[in-house]
């Protein structure tokens, strides 16, 4: 009888990720589809990104895979009755260009550009610094904020304002 391999930190992180992914997907798809989608995400992480074990890398990667899986699931559901299963071979990589994804991206940017002029000057300045790649501590110095928490608060409110201006979601509802 073979001995069981020890549970690693990565396994615990993936288990937590699965729970979060199932819950997130279930809010958009059916529970069964969400369970399968989360399983497929974990298979991709295991087979293609087995070397990634840090949470700072695993979570963004899993979210990216979830997004593509959701898009594939929607496409299959749109074909009336096909099961929303996407093979691992067909799954695009994180940086892979896709026409539909590109279209969604352009639409998101257009909506964003229309919303930006309606924001306040401070929010615009803050967003510009963020797009220029500056960190929050750098932004704190540039904007003369008393503390880093002030910058966090400004950014949280500005994000909420921008999200509201775009209809509550970055993607086309």
């Amino acid at each position: 009888m073979a001995a069981e391999s020890p549970i690693t930190e990565r396994d615990r992180t993936l288990a937590l990720l699965r729970e979060r992914i199932v819950a997130f997907a279930a809010s958009r798809l059916s529970r069964d589809v969400a369970e399968d989608l989360a399983q497929e995400v974990l298979i991709v992480l295991h087979e293609k990104y087995g070397h990634v074990d840090r949470i700072e890398d695993l979570l963004p990667l899993s979210l990216q895979i979830v997004r593509f899986k959701l898009m594939g699931a929607r496409r299959k559901m749109a074909r009336h009755g096909e099961f929303a299963q996407v093979s691992v071979d067909e799954l695009p990589l994180a940086d892979r260009s896709d026409t539909e994804a590109e279209t969604d991206r352009r639409m998101t940017v257009e909506r964003l550009r229309k919303a930006l002029p309606q924001m306040g000057e401070r929010c615009r300045q803050l967003l510009r610094y963020k797009l220029e790649g500056k960190t929050f501590p750098q932004i704190q110095r540039l904007m003369g904020a008393a503390s880093i928490n002030t910058v966090y608060t400004w950014d949280f409110r500005c994000r909420k304002q921008l999200l509201d201006l775009m209809g509550g979601d970055w993607e086309q509802p």
């Binding site: 992180t13 937590l16 990720l17 729970e19 979060r20 819950a23 997130f24 809010s27 949470i55 700072e56 979570l59 963004p60 979210l63 990216q64 979830v66 997004r67 994804a101 969604d104 991206r105 998101t108 940017v109 964003l112 550009r113 930006l116 002029p117 615009r124 300045q125 967003l127 510009r128 963020k130 797009l131 220029e132 790649g133 500056k134 960190t135 929050f136 501590p137 932004i139 928490n149 966090y152 608060t153 950014d155 949280f156 500005c158 994000r159 979601d169 970055w170 993607e171």
Partner: protein, 376 residues
């Protein structure tokens, strides 16, 4: 990052603003917080859009405020700033140079009027009077003291009147080169300062010298009695006299128009000409300014008698013919006194008048021109 602040980090996920520590805190919190995880998952669409550098540039351009007109102007002038700086530097250098040049010791440009020869009436001036000397060459000590003396020869001599100082100044003279010392001082000045003409004493000296010399020459030639300015201090001007050429006999024989020097009177001068009609002799007097002329003749006892009591009013440059009189044997036979104002002391008669006239003859030239007239 405090647990309460973690949710506020979510805005930095899409733009990649989070530091590694902030990312770890946010993601670890998201594993335990479904709501936070869902929020991060919703940010994924925006994150993928903002990961495109071209889209970032577009958004940054949209968020960059338009430059103000000052910034646009500064950007427009920036390429020309080196040229402007060079121009300003050149202008400043030029200004400093001009300032340094103008801040030196101020010099005065002096235009010196040429010394003009005496106008010749009967005799070439060069033959009668020595050339006038520049004023700066004559020291005050060299000025002659005029003490009229009647011991001199009464021989006639054509006299050349030196032009008055004022007249000399008024003559527009051709420019002469300034002495080196003056030339070194020359510098641009708004109005040149005209050096005054040679001092009246110089003219006086030359004229007296020529008169005395003329008298000597004439005496040796013809003993011709003609108008002579009496009382020449030979001791004072002797050297000058010796250097002056005397007139020839022919010149002395010509009709003489005698001229008296009035240098002492500054700008007042008189010339006269003898005119004989029978036994009577007239003087044609011409002054250069409005004045009063007093003429006295020698009486039988040697006293002075007024020919025209009260004097004769002369107009400037208008000849005036005096009353005819018979000149005495003693020379000078007459005295001509010219003044700008009436002289009350000459209204006396007899010995008082004689004393006054004699005293005036002995006095050095002043405001009153006193001329001893020698007549045959």
């Amino acid at each position: 990052v405090k647990p309460d602040d973690v949710k506020r980090l979510i805005g930095g996920y899409a733009t990649g603003t989070l530091t590694p520590a902030e990312q770890k805190a946010l993601f670890e919190a998201a594993l335990d917080d479904q709501e936070l995880f869902d929020a991060i998952a919703r940010e994924q669409a925006l994150k993928e859009a903002l990961d495109d550098p071209a889209i970032r540039r577009e958004l940054i351009a949209d968020l960059t405020p338009a430059p103000s007109w000052r910034e646009r102007l500064a950007a427009w002038m920036r390429p020309a700033m080196p040229i402007g700086a060079l121009g300003a530097l050149a202008a400043g250098t030029l200004g400093v140079v001009l300032y340094v040049q103008n801040s030196g010791p101020k010099t005065t440009e002096i235009a010196q009027a040429p010394i003009r020869q005496q106008p010749q009436l009967d005799t070439p001036a060069s033959a009668l009077s020595p050339p006038a000397q520049p004023a700066e060459k004559k020291s005050p000590e060299a000025r002659p003291e005029f003490t009229r003396s009647k011991a001199k020869s009464p021989m006639p001599a054509p006299m050349v009147q030196s032009p008055p100082a004022a007249e000399n100044r008024a003559v527009p003279a051709a420019p002469i080169p300034a002495p080196p010392s003056i030339a070194r001082m020359a510098a641009p000045q708004p109005a040149p300062v005209v050096i005054p003409a040679p001092a009246p004493e110089q003219f006086r000296t030359s004229i007296v010298a020529s008169e005395a010399d003329t008298a000597k020459k004439a005496e040796s030639v013809n003993q011709r009695a003609d108008g002579v300015v009496g009382g020449v201090p030979g001791g004072v001007v002797g050297s000058i006299i010796g250097g002056a050429p005397g007139p020839s006999a022919a010149m002395a024989a010509r009709p003489k128009r005698m001229v008296a020097d009035a240098a002492a009177a500054r700008s007042l001068s008189v010339r006269y000409q003898r005119q004989k009609t029978g036994e009577l002799t007239n003087l044609i007097i011409e002054a250069n300014a409005d004045s009063i002329a007093y003429l006295f003749r020698r009486g039988e006892a040697g006293e002075w008698v007024a020919i025209a009591p009260g004097g004769m009013s002369l107009k400037a440059n208008v000849p005036f013919t005096t009353t005819g009189f018979v000149p005495g044997a003693t020379q000078p036979a007459a005295v001509l006194i010219l003044s700008r104002r009436p002289l009350s002391q000459l209204a006396q008669t007899g010995s008082a008048l004689t004393s006054v006239v004699q005293e005036m003859l002995a006095q050095p030239p002043g405001e009153v021109v006193v001329t001893a007239v020698k007549l045959p």
